[in-house]
Symmetry: C2
Amino acid sequence: MINNYELYKVFYWAAKTGSLTQAAKTLYLTQPSVSHAIKQLEDSFGLILFYRNSKGVELTQEGAVLYSYIEKSQILISLAEEKMAALKNLDNGELRIGGSDSLFKHYVLPYLEDFHEKHPGIKLHLNHGTTPEVISFLKEGRIDLGVVRMPIVDSQLEVRESFQLQDCFVAGARYAELKDMVLSLEMLLKYPIILFSRNSRARMAITEIFQSYGYTIKPEIEVGSVDLLIEFARRGLGISYVTREFVSKELEEGSLFEIQLDVPLPPSHVGIMTMRNMPLTSAASRFIELVR
Amino acid sequence: MINNYELYKVFYWAAKTGSLTQAAKTLYLTQPSVSHAIKQLEDSFGLILFYRNSKGVELTQEGAVLYSYIEKSQILISLAEEKMAALKNLDNGELRIGGSDSLFKHYVLPYLEDFHEKHPGIKLHLNHGTTPEVISFLKEGRIDLGVVRMPIVDSQLEVRESFQLQDCFVAGARYAELKDMVLSLEMLLKYPIILFSRNSRARMAITEIFQSYGYTIKPEIEVGSVDLLIEFARRGLGISYVTREFVSKELEEGSLFEIQLDVPLPPSHVGIMTMRNMPLTSAASRFIELVR
DNA sequence: AGGAGCTATAGATCACGTCTATGATCAATA
DNA sequence: TATTGATCATAGACGTGATCTATAGCTCCT
């Protein structure tokens, strides 16, 4: 039984319309083509599928049995094609993004809102984790793209730089005397420092910066979230190292102020990370395009 | 979306085996053909369906969605093909026969038993009725073939003569004096005659025979079934006109005897009737072949 | 009798499905 | 590190078979 499945499409329409001529029109074929196709099917089964009469065709008993299967099959294919079109049009589908909570909250969110408004049919899945975790998610295929701090050096990954973040040291009212001063790193280190505890890119970056100047930065307090970094600084428990964009509200309202240093802190870059040589879903491509 | 459904077969096997090479082997194609087929599908949707890696292929999110539909569709087609093969092999199906009760009982039954033994998967449907009723059944498509007395003159029908029946007059002990006599039609008519009441072929035939000899046969008793014809004759209510083959048991055991006439009664022919120019089901063809 | 449907058949044509040959990439070996 | 053996992709050639046009045959209806 080596049948061309295309024949079933012809059979389906012939049965559905009850006319080879009609089927031909539906399929943009000529009537003899349809006639021939049906004949092929009949020959392959060794069974007659249609009664031919002057008004058209009618299923035989055996043709009716075949139709009961083929009809369902063809409907499934139609549904599949509709679904594919919907996926392509982004009427449908899902987008799975990995990244840190703070990046989601302060940076990715507006893009997600925009994306969701434009494509309300796409389900969004956010998976937060540290940069190494996000990389694993990506490699395991659990997310479509990751939003992480650069640089990422991994030959399996492709990273599109998307924007810069400026990290800085901030303090609260308790250290008001520093507000108008320009501190050296050495001076800064005399104060209690609050850093993000986890093995994050930001933490690594600041450690390296201090090392490049010959100092070692050792935090008084380590916390597990950006929110705590901010809260601890506000309460005067120390000076927090935090992304400036994440505390813009506090800086504005004056509950925190930025410590001015005599050396520049290099900005950190945020990138959108995907698997290299792996095709993206339409939704993922669209999102990246939107963020650009 | 004008897609060749053949591509879905290729897609199905590629997804199922996780390898274009394997799919090619399954489908007796070469790997480039499969590769090309998948590419066509992808292009037609504008979506990537597989991740290609050095071990084979893996469905993308969108490919997985497609597969969820196509898998069911392909399974239905496989089932359909199996079913068709079963119908062809007569492992399966139904055979609907029309005819008179008496023909079924005395003539068709052994063939049906034989058929059923050879093809136990075929469901048998027997519809009894008079010849005109059976013809209607056939034209309405309610039966596949009819077993009736010939001649049938209907251009829509095709009749295969299959065997002869000899009708005759029989009587019981009450008319024992006739056993060794040879009667003329005129003499016969002096006795009470029992005929089948319904507008049957047999009734028409005997009427015509008498008319051709210039007589009119008028029954004393009309009954509605062959069984009653026999029973009435046995009980001596008259002389029944009945098919000899239907009373072979009674003739043998002596409860009935055949009246000898001085003119021959022409045999009646039984035929298997089908719609002309209408294909037969495999089961019907097989049955006819068996009866021959 | 003629016309308007329908399907079947015959024969020609050419698109396209399939092939072979080869390249590119990757992973697991030696 | 080079080698081998998988994988899939690409290019180009080939030939089959799907499709076409033209026509016939049939049935029903006017």
